[in-house]
Symmetry: C2
Subunit: 148 residues, 2 copies
DNA sequence: TGGGTAAGTTCTGTTTCGGAACCTGTCAAT
DNA sequence: ATTGACAGGTTCCGAAACAGAACTTACCCA
């Protein structure tokens, strides 16, 4: 199967990964969350090649995750910002960060972690079912194939 | 920057993606969560090439996400199962599924969604800070760079 | 002797990537 | 008028990764 056939799959994991399941894309989204909006800043911070960054930003814009907005007219320059769809990726990023901090130790400090902004205590992300308040675990969930 | 230099980065997003930030890896993990344990089953279901699947399973085993366990002796055959580190990826998968179902519509039914096993109602995943019970959003979180 | 099963490995041609250089439009200083 | 800086790309090349198909190994069964 080729990658560009994936976005129509029934499985939401496949559809999600058709947008962000790439070696660099989620790192670009991270930069957006950190307030980095310009091409050269992203390129310098990520160490990605300019060619690949241009391609990823093009795809993210086409997928509606970021949009381009002019910040000066001459010469015309755009910056990249997250759309609501892009901001909705925040829980994915947070759970990934939590997993990596727990299970993929880097061999050099400094490390980066998340704090509750109000209390300044370390964030302890927990996934619950908003309907019932129950923890979501592998065992508390079942899969539904709907449609025909 | 090359991909194999990424796992030592300070940023947990980079370290996490060095393990699962690949076009196929999280799909393989999904199969494991669905109880698919054997090479040929995964290959047939995913439509991935055998070469790439063998490589991804090798990497996932090396990274401690899955382990191989013999299920018959002659000829020796192994199946792949999630380690605790692998099972800890469940929240990442659930938030990704939730995002994709909300924002990446497939153009063909059937679609797949998650249910609370006990109530059989649709799952509404919500990420909260276990310390305070507050919702986790982009605005309620701040970033800490620790170490030196 | 031949076929079936399971888990890979090997081969070949295509696509993508990394790294560096180059291009475009504009302004400001020399 | 020319030079340099800035910002956001594009182009080029060789290297790496990928898709698809065939092949290999080891065993069992008929």
């Amino acid at each position: 199967m080729k990658w560009n056939e994936l976005h129509t799959e029934a499985c939401p994991v496949a559809r999600g990964l058709s947008v962000i399941g790439d070696r660099w894309t989620l790192m670009v989204v991270r930069e957006c969350f950190l307030g980095i909006r310009r091409f050269d800043d992203m390129q310098a911070r990520l160490g990605i090649t300019r060619h690949v960054l241009a391609d990823r930003l093009r795809n993210l814009e086409a997928d509606g995750v970021v949009y381009r907005e002019a910040y000066q007219a001459r010469p015309l320059r755009h910056e990249y910002r997250l759309t609501p769809k892009g901001r909705a990726l925040y829980p994915v990023l947070v759970t990934l960060i939590d997993w990596a901090n727990a299970h993929v130790p880097g061999d050099k400090d400094p490390s980066i972690s998340l704090l509750n902004r109000r209390t300044q205590n370390p964030l302890v992300p927990k996934l619950i079912d908003a309907e019932t308040g129950e923890d979501i675990t592998h065992r508390s969930v079942t899969v539904l194939k709907s449609g025909q």
